[in-house]
Symmetry: C2
Subunit: 209 residues, 2 copies
DNA sequence: AATTGTGAAACACTTCACAGCC
DNA sequence: GGCTGTGAAGTGTTTCACAATT
């Protein structure tokens, strides 16, 4: 799928911007991303011819185009639910990097945690969730709650208008036909690694999620 | 790819074990995993016919078979490099769950952190890395260091015999033909979500990594 | 000469359809 | 009747080969 590669292009384009490189070829992008040059040309062609034959692609044009396609040219308000170890780390990670993503609030149902801050974002009670979603026009959420609570929280998020959920809990979630759910299950990733370390797989630098 | 689904089956089989269910059909597995029943039968058939026609699969047999295929029937020693926010959270996560994975050590190059403990695992200096890898027969590593350090650490890990690396740093890593590298880039996942929240994508519960 | 853009071929993965079995 | 196992068809993605452009 194309969309998984776009943020990779964006990362490289940001690096190129720092290096003050104006023009880049699909071959150079291939070297830096690990994708094939043909695939890169196909990807880039699919949102309008941008390159110049014999020369390459203008980095600034490409960067803005990808940001626009991803919707990162508009501010993206995100909430995180679950302020445990993983949730807190994810919050700090999101806040610390220039990803174009604005974490507006963190929620947890533990009264002990409510009122604390992660950097300058307050941890709020679940009761406030619907209000914040509506007020801030939040359409993306990160979920880092126990599996048993995951579907319930998902339903609250969907009811509040959230359209995309990044789910770190080990549960199969139903977006109720309204939200896209992307699962990242760390236990699954670790257990998959066991397989690759057992010697069965081909040895190659593979670009995962 | 089959191997990404095996840990999902394993999770469901563990749930079924808790529920004292002895036999399960591909349809029930489909309901619980979100995969299609045909796909499940194909997956399970690929490591030997295990089901009984008209009945289903024996959960205990299936569970042991999958654990064996994944290599989880043998103890899997894992190290983690990088004890920042994310690394620490990953360490706690790995230690807190019954994943069949044994975190033997955490490494960091910050002298401030060396000597501290995460649960009962000590944070050690990078200088100790090669020794621990050899002594404990470590073949899997988790990488949560800044992008700039990632390839250097990868080379140390590969030199020490590591065969699979779960990489959380935003960098394309080269396993030098010896190690399988699986990337999980949180920034990429978040930026991809922006796309799905912009209304371009079909609305369905999608099972990601 | 170098590079993009793209139809065609190759490949991988998923779904369909149904035979075989309990 | 219900379920597994599987060849065949379908679908989506990647690679190949090369024409078109600067």
């Amino acid at each position: 799928m194309v969309v998984k590669r776009l943020p990779v292009y964006l990362r490289v384009l940001n690096e190129l911007k720092d290096e003050a490189v104006d023009i880049v070829s699909s071959h150079e992008l291939a070297r830096r991303t690990g994708f094939s040059s043909e695939q890169i040309r196909k990807d880039l062609a699919c949102f309008g011819a941008l390159g110049t034959r014999g020369l390459g692609y203008r980095t600034d044009v490409l960067r803005e185009r990808i940001r626009s396609v991803l919707g990162l040219d508009r501010t993206l308000n995100v909430v995180l639910v679950g302020a445990g170890n993983l949730g807190t780390a994810l919050a700090r990670y999101t806040l610390s990097r220039e990803t174009g993503i604005n974490l507006v609030a963190v929620f947890d149902d533990d009264p002990e945690k409510v009122g604390r801050r992660i950097e300058d974002v307050e941890i709020r009670a679940m009761a406030d969730l619907a209000g914040v979603l509506a007020e801030q026009g939040v359409r993306v959420a990160i979920l880092a709650v126990p599996a048993s609570a995951a579907q319930g929280v998902t339903d609250l998020l969907v009811a509040g208008g959230v359209e995309a959920i990044l789910n770190f809990s080990p549960a199969k979630l139903d977006g109720r036909g309204k939200a896209y759910v992307k699962n990242i299950d760390l236990a699954i990733e670790l257990q998959s690694l066991a397989y690759y370390a057992s010697g069965e797989a081909g040895r190659a630098g593979t670009s995962g999620a």
